[in-house]
């Protein structure tokens, strides 16, 4: 459950929400801080169609990430090595989908959570699931955009808190360009914070062929990882 909705395994679900062709390009910076250790990652993201991603990391090392409806690849051009994962073996690529924020309520409901009407009012919504001890709290602004998501237990301990800010508006859509969160593990011993910011956003640009049709070079060593 620590894996929260900015990086949740929603790709399957997102595909049904954005069926028409639409593309987005953005540069991003991701910062993870854990126990005084700060890690920064710089890269760019292409998202197009309903379920295709290409992430190009250029700091701290060169790494290319390709996702389609079947596979997920981590490719290291400098090392000439790639890791291949099958679709159901990677949980949370949605991290790079900035649209997930606007669709969280639909997605939460698809995951079996139901709105607690008694406790929900105006811009405050609570969601519960019978088989789960977690309570999800979603806050929205006056425009109906999600500003915060909390996951807490019955004793009100917040395991995760994600804040969505700096909305970008385009074609009647909007998505946050700054997401930040604090995540605790289930035993509350450890936590980390994470922030991702999208910049230089371009909408509906043609996806370059080398990205849209990206395939691994023939001489690359591919390691398929299987958890057997």
């Amino acid at each position: 459950m620590k894996v929260v909705f900015i990086n949740f395994f929603l790709l399957f679900l997102i595909s049904s929400l954005y069926s028409e062709k639409f593309s987005i390009f953005a540069n991003f910076e991701r910062v993870v801080v854990r126990a005084n250790n700060k890690e920064s990652i710089l890269g760019s993201l292409w998202y197009w169609g309903s379920d295709e991603y290409f992430v190009d990391i250029f700091f701290p090392l060169k790494q290319k990430i390709k996702y389609n409806s079947k596979n997920f690849y981590l490719y290291y051009p400098d090392n000439n090595i790639a890791f291949k994962f099958s679709l159901n073996s990677i949980k949370d690529l949605i991290y790079f989908n900035p649209f997930s924020a606007q669709e969280i309520e639909k997605l939460v409901e698809k995951l079996g959570y139901k709105k607690n009407e008694k406790k929900s009012q105006n811009n405050y919504s609570e969601y519960k699931k019978k088989s789960s001890s977690y309570i999800l709290v979603i806050l929205k602004d006056e425009k109906g955009r999600i500003t915060s998501l909390k996951i807490k237990d019955k004793k009100n301990f917040v395991f995760a808190h994600v804040v969505y800010e700096e909305y970008y508006e385009v074609d009647n859509r909007s998505f946050p360009t700054r997401l930040s969160g604090v995540f605790y593990d289930d035993i509350r011993k450890d936590y980390y914070s994470e922030k991702i910011e999208y910049k230089d956003i371009k909408i509906n640009e043609k996806v370059p062929d080398e990205i849209a049709n990206f395939s691994l070079p023939q001489n690359v060593l591919i390691k398929e990882f299987d958890f057997k």
């Binding site: 990086n7 890269g43 990391i57 981590l74 090392n79 994962f85 990677i90 949370d92 991290y95 958890f227």
Partner: protein, 193 residues
């Protein structure tokens, strides 16, 4: 002479560089190992696997062994290949070990609980005694098991063990021949309630 010095310096440079590379690689592997163990400990729901072991017994333990856990992809983003390899391997091993340990512990707890509850129910029958003397002399007990002593299904009131007497003479005192409790050293000591 100069050639020798250059050669020595070059040798040192090569050794130093390879040493630094080794250090770098081992640093990455150490970090990946630490991260993988931490994430695995956080991801594995131990109470759940305890329950699986308790309910499923050997089947639950086997299930815990074969069940797969997958790490989060975001943990691999921006990490070098050595890190990814080590992380995935350690994560796989650690989650498997943790699940297996929890399931085995669950099975053992369930087993102990089962025997404990069985003994309690035997005690409730009133004539539980491991003493061979009792088991041999409790005439009223239908059970012949020495281990369970007189854990008769008939109940303790008509097992024929009398208290205060020496041994377990059937049909003596104790009302209708029952074990009238507090047998003390009688050999048919009532250790239940």
């Amino acid at each position: 002479m100069i050639k020798k010095i250059i050669l020595i310096v070059l040798c040192f440079a090569i050794v130093f560089k390879s040493f630094r590379l080794d250090l770098y690689a081992s640093d990455i592997k150490n970090k990946a190992t630490i991260d993988a163990i931490r994430d695995a400990e956080s991801d594995v729901k131990k109470p759940l696997w305890l329950l699986v072991g308790a309910i499923g017994g050997p089947v639950g333990v086997a299930f815990s062994y074969f069940h797969k856990d997958y790490p989060s992809a975001t943990r691999l983003i921006g990490k070098p290949p050595e890190y990814v390899l080590t992380y995935l391997e350690v994560y796989r091993k650690t989650t498997k070990k943790l699940k297996l340990k929890a399931a085995v512990a669950g099975s053992i707890i369930a087993l102990i609980t089962y025997f404990y509850l069985n003994n309690i129910s035997a005690l409730n029958t009133g004539c539980f005694n491991t003493s061979p003397e009792c088991s041999s002399t409790c005439a009223g007990c239908s059970s012949s098991s020495i281990d369970t002593g007189c854990s008769s299904v008939e109940g303790w009131s008509n097992t024929g063990c009398s208290s205060g007497s020496s041994g377990c003479s059937s049909g003596t005192s104790g009302g209708s021949g029952g074990c009238a409790s507090s047998g003390g050293s009688s050999g048919c000591a009532y250790i239940g309630f």
